[in-house]
Subunit: 281 residues, 2 copies
């Protein structure tokens, strides 16, 4: 039974949204809906226009018989800034302030809609890079890594402080913890990352950058490359950070009596949709 245009548009939207960055061929859609490739091409033009108008993302269409479409989710600078402002309002509530100049934020990082937006923002910042895997360290970076990995449609790997029997053989590195200045250890399963991978490092919080520096060493041990570092929040820090280049959504200054939350440098690296294809390496 031939499928009507309205049904095709609905199902194609879902199908493409669930598979970011994956090229889906005209042939596949044509067979799925028992419809001519010319009709599918028209459908894709409509999808492209709506995705663009609504700020959903870019639908890249690849012409020719072997062609198809690839959905690249992004977030506009406006929507990203609005989201970061909402986070600042939430994190500035006094009930979140903890002894030692910390701010409670675990509840926010357990909300699917927050994690989706964080994922979209970080993915948009690194759209011009080829990313093979997202890396984070247990525990609180995991939900961020998963959100980013969903938006980029790549796997994420979890570095651990303890080594577990269920991880098999591991590669471990020592690093100097930025805050405590102690030597610590972190490990990653040898099975989890292919040599030659291009890795995006993410975490929930960064202060001196010691932990992230550790992950950078670990990436090198896997003969892989760090393409970027993105954190949800950075804390005020006196001295030289171990990580010179990174992006953050928020800055938390809790050195004085009160806590001040301000936007991080995220907006500098959010490109307009038009510039995306030219940026892609």
């Amino acid at each position: 039974m031939k499928v009507r245009r309205s049904d095709r548009l609905i199902d194609m939207t879902r199908y493409l949204l669930e598979r970011p960055h994956q090229l889906v061929s005209l042939t596949f859609f044509s067979e799925r809906y028992e419809s001519a490739k010319s009709s599918i091409s028209e459908d894709l033009t409509i999808l492209k226009r709506t995705f663009r108008t609504r700020g959903t993302g870019l639908l890249e269409t690849v012409p020719g018989a072997a062609g198809g479409a690839r959905f690249i989710p992004y977030i506009t600078k406006n929507e990203a800034s609005q989201f970061v402002d909402d986070m600042i309002t939430a994190l500035s509530e006094e009930s979140r302030f903890l002894p030692g100049g910390y701010v409670y934020m675990s509840d926010l990082l357990g909300r699917p809609n927050v994690l989706r937006q964080v994922g979209r923002i970080v993915a948009t910042q690194y759209l011009h890079e080829t990313v093979d895997a997202v890396m984070t360290v247990a525990t609180k970076g995991i939900p961020i890594a998963q959100g980013v990995a969903e938006s980029l449609n790549v796997p994420f790997v979890i570095v651990r402080h303890d080594s577990q029997i269920t991880e098999g053989s591991t590669v471990s590195v020592n690093y100097v913890s930025g805050s405590s200045q102690r030597i610590e250890k972190m490990a990653l399963s040898t099975r989890s990352l292919k040599p030659g991978s291009r890795v995006l490092i993410v975490d929930d919080f960064m202060k001196g950058g010691g932990t992230i520096g550790g992950m950078q060493s670990l990436v090198k041990e896997f003969n892989s490359t760090v393409v970027g570092v993105a954190v949800f929040a950075e804390g005020a820090f006196e001295g030289t950070s171990k990580v010179p280049d990174y992006t953050s959504l928020l800055k938390i200054d809790a050195t004085t009596d009160h806590v001040e939350v301000t936007p991080g440098n995220f907006a500098d690296q959010i490109y307009t949709p038009d510039r995306m294809s030219e940026l892609k390496k």
Copy 2:
């Protein structure tokens, strides 16, 4: 500018898919697209039909002026079984077998598409329950919890073995680890779960059920209720499990020389779409 039907269908699909279980009003859509409510109602009828035909989920429509639509994702028993069979094939590769009768599965639990399907399956199993929060224990349960929480559109909370300054005050319980028979401790931030919550417990792996038993005690400490327990894989276990009722996607029997992976009991609790509304309490 009035929005065309095709554009409305595409954007409504995305909007509803991103907000499972949330009632979106006719008024909202009518204003968003500057279109009559009668047109929006027709759109929703088309969406409902396509979602059903394609096994995407149920679009519940609430009639009347205050009405709207709510998207309830589910997975069909066929698609769930197909996915579990794929997992069995992947996990039966000899290169995954680890000393001590363990199977390496961290890579699978770091793939967004695997986590989405696990989330859909577990969410479908507990569609007849009201769930306010998903609970898991660090580290490897987190991606599963996030996948399930996305499908149910509720927050997830992470129980930890160590207590961190960034969690604020915590409630902790002692429990007997099923495998080592040692007394261990787990803690949850008091800020993370409201009293009276209905909690779905999930984890990547269960053997004796000690860890999950600990989480059950913790839920009681928060004057909350456990509505179910779901694990990705259960290990063969001699003796009485501390958790009599649970669902699993996979059974891993690694007590002998070789590892055998078989389907868990998940299929018993996957209901057909027709039975869903009647089951909802």
